[in-house]
Symmetry: C3
Subunit: 189 residues, 3 copies
């Protein structure tokens, strides 16, 4: 009988070792690549060109030596830094009711083709969503889809992390573009 | 007897399945919303206005077409990009001994009201704290309190994540403001 | 016999409590400070000075009132904002085959000495690496080594976090510098 009990305790002990090891490992090894939340939004950017002050939602605020502040620079806009406060909508219609604002900046960062680097937030204050989602990353915008990082969040999106897949849904010359942002959160709290 | 032992092993096995499942889940589900560290600091920003070169801790370095570099622009400073190196203090007295520097940038990003987007670090190199805390996020600065993300850290704040709650503790015209930053870290290493 | 079985179940129950508690704790306490991946790269920055348009990989796009866009400003370049698209190489030879691009911005942010704040990505699209690594943090560049945060990643670097240790490997006047970036990832998926 004593040996049976010993067996049981030995099993428990062995199990405990395995599990403890798994827990420590889990912090940087075991991860489910399954989103805990997904969201899809559109946002609309109208850049200031000297004549559209009323409608513009963004403006050039930095430019290289060869640039200016009412027209995107040559060389694929390299060096143009744009600040924006763009409406977020649930569909691709700029006239639909905005459910939040996309706020931050992007900078064109390559001379040979269009690429950008983005730092911005989705800011929500509606019955549906309260709080913010913060983004950063490279946007090689000639690619059909490109991924940037969700680096944090607040309110309903407390401490969240994930990936946002961006698609250029439409653009009109150099003044308007619309992005579709497909957010997949992999860390939820 | 054999059946009892079987029972015990069956229990262990069942337990193991449950726990393994919990571990995998834990990576994106179970999270304690209890800070592992809290810190409160103040920092002080004196913007360069063309006449205060000696005392200024920040400067406008980007501005929209309608702005300039010694005065914050109209339309709620929309588009003004400010770089700063501000003293961090433990209390609200700018003359108390600084314990670190707040370094980075903010950009005013809305025409209708004051809002900003921040990217900056707290840099410490004292006996009390060594290392840095990195922040990013939207600052709707007309709100009494607003949350931004702690997106990482180094040294004493290795790999940390969390939330920083910002309060405007004081401001004087357009030249000086003081922020209280209440940091709650939820990921500590 | 019944009491033995009870013992075994009691043990299991007790074990379960301990383990459950450990799991919840693990989310913000137990962490192995052992990298799950390490990578070392170099990148090369040639700043536009008005005469090197062909070779330049970066340009000043923001500057304080006392600065301009073809020469880094006085006061340790305080306020100069630089956008870059720099080649990444595996060794310190700028002429070796680039394996990706470092894209983003840095801003000099202190009047008394050289310090900067960085927001950028390593963008890879080769057989060896596909995807991006996103960085942010303070760079007190007079220090031999300094740490910034890896705040996220995409593709091969999906959801990654970690620390990048930067060393200035070489510089030539104000036009060229080469950084060695030693990346240690602590969160891998």
């Amino acid at each position: 009988m004593a040996s049976k009990r010993f067996n049981c305790i030995a099993n428990l002990f062995f199990l405990f070792i395995i599990i403890s090891f798994s827990i420590v490992e889990s912090s940087n090894k075991i991860r489910a690549r399954r989103p805990c939340k997904t969201l899809t939004f559109y946002f609309h950017d109208i850049i200031y060109n000297g004549e559209n002050a009323k409608n513009a939602t963004s403006a050039i605020v930095g430019a290289p030596a060869w640039g200016n502040f009412t027209k995107l620079a040559g060389q694929n806009h390299f060096g143009d830094l744009v600040v924006f406060d763009d409406p977020i909508t649930l569909n691709n219609n700029i006239h639909s009711s905005p459910i939040g604002r996309a706020q931050g900046f992007y900078v064109y960062d390559k001379k040979e083709i269009f690429t950008a680097w983005l730092g911005f937030s989705f800011v929500f204050n509606s019955t549906e969503h309260k709080g913010s989602i913060n983004f950063a990353g490279a946007d090689p915008l000639m690619n059909k889809t490109r991924d940037i990082s969700v680096i944090g969040g607040t309110g309903d999106f407390f401490m969240t992390r994930g990936i946002a897949t961006i698609t250029t849904d439409a653009f009109e010359g150099e003044v308007y573009f619309r992005l579709c942002v497909d957010i997949k959160l992999y860390e939820c709290w």
